[in-house]
């Protein structure tokens, strides 16, 4: 059903830079985040390109080892703290959470704007530190190197991450309060879209975990500036304690990265199978299970750090357990596809990519949870490949899929479907070419965080770099056509894909207040048997 084009919407209701920078409309803030997060993604990608260029040859001939240390450190910091953790929640979550619960905005719109300001301040601190020479400790900042020995600029980066952590907390706080107190009449918990469950679980992780990295950073900064001995063995401190502090947040942080992505996948799979998500209560519950169990496994990053072997065994068993709810989701998505009426629009291609790549990443995660294996592959490229399969093959694919799926709603325009599918394919091929060889070289013993490596690994490294170039192309094409579509794209109807969900009941793009009156919900989510497929699909003609 097409909606008439005319009318005021959140994009054209006011013009000028001030109306954007001071807006408290969650949809505009989502777009502000889209710009920031995309910029940081490109910056992180630039560092990745430098890493892959260096690794074309076995000798450390392009960058000095100190410089290389800075490059992979900044790649990790920028990608983890400024792209992956905020990514889907700040862009898609901010835009969609109020709409999906039938509200006019989040509970605290001004805190939402503040969270974007804090993100920007944190990013600027980090950029400043890059400009004055960067940091070379690895994104994990292990002491005492980071607190006592390195001469690089730890404090500005630490401050930047601290401030951005507050940004994250405010987003999580807003989501929790909105979901608890502002659901539309009739919208009970078990009628919520799984995207909401995913963001609710993510927000719980944010609230419980982020403060611990905050205090870790405070202690690290105090130690560095005042030469205190919290984590420095020369002063009586314990470096392993730092690792406990650090990983207590940083492991759940990876669930902050993946849970929203899983929420996106649920929405896309349901829509493009024309079927409700199989086992809805299990998918919802598994989000909560992942959020909570994810806090109990951090020691699997410390198997070789002189942590007690007994503790290592316990963490190993718990790490096996945390895989179960993720597997539950994959089974339920697969069951959703079974006997569904499947179509292969761009979002669905990304979702399929997610399913395969996340499964591989997850299975290799089980290998790493196995204490005996991890002792051998720790700090090799096997680990690097594992987490990139989840974070890039998982989160980034879902992020792109979600951007495509909701682009018509966000921008009021359709993206060009043919180019969309082509880019999805390029991303998939480029991704696998980049990271599968890394499983092999890692298993064969190539260590991570070295700018040089034994000659026998060169062929696989060249393949990986080639793949990275292809992957880069696959990322740049959507950047171009999304911008292009804002001016030249076909105007979008309110529900181009025939999806269920309250957000699709509004015009594309929506008005500032989302709904003229609070909608009433009378049916469960994903009632696809009652929603007709749009004639000819979204991109007919």
């Amino acid at each position: 059903m097409s909606a008439p084009r005319s009318g005021t919407n959140y994009l054209n209701v006011s013009y000028g830079i001030r109306s954007w920078l001071f807006s408290v409309d969650h949809k505009r803030i989502a777009l502000l985040y889209l710009c920031s997060v995309t910029s940081m993604f490109l910056l992180g990608g630039l560092f990745a390109a430098m890493v892959r260029m260096e690794l074309l040859t076995p000798a450390g001939d392009m960058l000095a080892s100190d410089t290389y240390n800075k490059v992979f450190t900044m790649h990790g910091i920028v990608m983890v703290f400024f792209f992956l953790i905020p990514g889907i929640p700040a862009v898609l979550g901010n835009f969609l959470v109020p709409m999906m619960v039938g509200a006019r905005d989040l509970a605290f719109p001004r805190l939402n704007l503040l969270s974007w300001y804090l993100y920007t301040v944190g990013a600027l601190f980090t950029l400043f530190s890059i400009v004055i020479g960067g940091v070379d400790t690895g994104w994990t900042f292990y002491t005492p190197y980071s607190s006592a020995w390195t001469t690089t600029n730890i404090v500005p980066v630490a401050l930047g991450i601290f401030v951005t952590g507050f940004s994250s907390i405010l987003t999580g706080l807003n989501f929790i309060v909105t979901i608890h107190t502002m659901r539309a009449p009739g919208l009970t918990w078990f009628r919520l879209p799984l995207f909401i469950w995913a963001h609710y679980a993510t927000s719980i992780v944010i609230i419980l975990g982020t403060p611990v990295i905050a205090i870790t950073i405070v202690l690290l900064a105090l130690e560095r500036v005042f030469h205190l001995g919290f984590f420095d063995p020369a002063l009586g401190g314990d470096p392993v304690l730092f690792q406990h502090f650090f990983w207590f947040y940083s492991h759940p942080a990876v669930y902050i990265m993946i849970l929203p992505a899983m929420g996106v996948v649920s929405e896309i799979v349901a829509c493009f199978s024309r079927k409700r998500v199989f086992g809805y209560p299990f998918v919802a519950g598994s989000s909560l299970a992942i959020a909570l169990l994810g806090f109990l496994v951090w020691g699997h990053h410390m198997f070789v750090s002189s942590q007690s072997v007994f503790a290592g065994m316990v963490f190993s068993v718990l790490s096996f357990l945390v895989a179960i709810p993720s597997a539950v989701k994959v089974f339920n998505w697969t069951a959703t596809l079974y006997k569904g009426s499947i179509s292969f629009e761009t979002p669905m291609l990304y979702a399929f990519g997610f399913l395969g790549l996340f499964t591989i990443g997850g299975l290799t995660g089980l290998m790493l949870a196995t204490l005996g294996i991890d002792v051998h592959v720790h700090d090799t490229y096997f680990i690097v490949a594992h987490f990139h399969y989840i974070m890039v093959g998982g989160t980034v694919m879902a992020y792109l899929g979600g951007l495509h799926f909701w682009w018509p709603k966000i921008s009021g325009r359709l993206y060009p479907e043919w180019w969309g599918r082509l880019s999805a394919l390029i991303v998939f091929i480029g991704f696998n070419l980049t990271f599968f060889p890394q499983f092999i070289v890692g298993y064969l013993g190539m260590p991570r965080r070295y700018h040089a490596y034994p000659e026998e690994f060169q062929v696989l490294n060249v393949m990986s770099t080639a793949g990275a170039s292809i992957l880069g192309v696959g990322y740049v094409i959507p950047l171009i056509y999304f911008v292009w579509s804002m001016r030249y794209g076909k105007r979008a109807p309110s529900n181009p894909f025939g999806a269920t969900g309250l957000e699709w009941r509004t015009p594309s793009p929506p008005p500032t207040e989302n709904f003229p009156a609070p909608p009433t919900v009378t049916e469960e989510a994903y009632a696809y048997e009652r929603v007709p497929v749009p004639e000819g699909g979204a991109h007919a003609g």
Binding site: T178, I207, L208, F226, L228, G236, F245
Partner: protein, 247 residues
Amino acid sequence: MRADSGAVAAAHAHQFEDAAQQRDAVTLGMWTFLVTEILFFGGLFLAYAIYRWSFPSAFALASRQLDITLGGVNTVVLIASSLTMALAVHAAQTGAGRALLGFLLLTILLGGVFLGIKAVEYRHKFEEHLIPGASFHMPVSEATLSGDIPPDQAIAAGVPATALSAPAEIQRHAQIYFSLYFAMTGMHALHMVIGLGLLAWLALQCRKGRFTPAYFAPVEIVGLYWHFVDIVWIFLFPLLYLVGRHA
């Protein structure tokens, strides 16, 4: 007895359906924030716990350097400020505007007293060379360190506390204690300063007549924050001041 609030419909921000939803949201929001504060301070307590378990005698010796009288007085002062804060909320609920202002100012005063006493304690630490760093030196007697006699007994038996300096290890571990002391009380004091700022803002709003029995949520949520800061001190006091005091 609540004053009649039916005359004016309580205003609420545009994103909420009604004032009740706004109140629920604001309360849940403040508590969610306090959950993050529990985990934030909790990290400091973790570091404290690990190091106290690792270095029990150094912690006991170091803790005895603190002034238990000043710490105790501060505890009473802060608890009293929680009382005045609770009474402030009560005044807001019952529409007693002048009492509200009075209790807010009293809370600010008590908070100021706490910070003043803290400043005095910090200055003592500086004068006694107990700031971690190059000039750190904790006075301990040799008899104490040999482990034969518990520290308090040694001092009670007349061994001068400043007799000999302790081996480097005890000094190192005591510095960790004091690093934690300053980090924990410093972070607490920072939160108190922020709280005083919030209270001052409340007092200003109160003078403008902004609060009625139908709308006093800011008083309530600042109160929650203030009570939380009090609770942190309730744990800090015994853990920092009361280690190894027994005879």
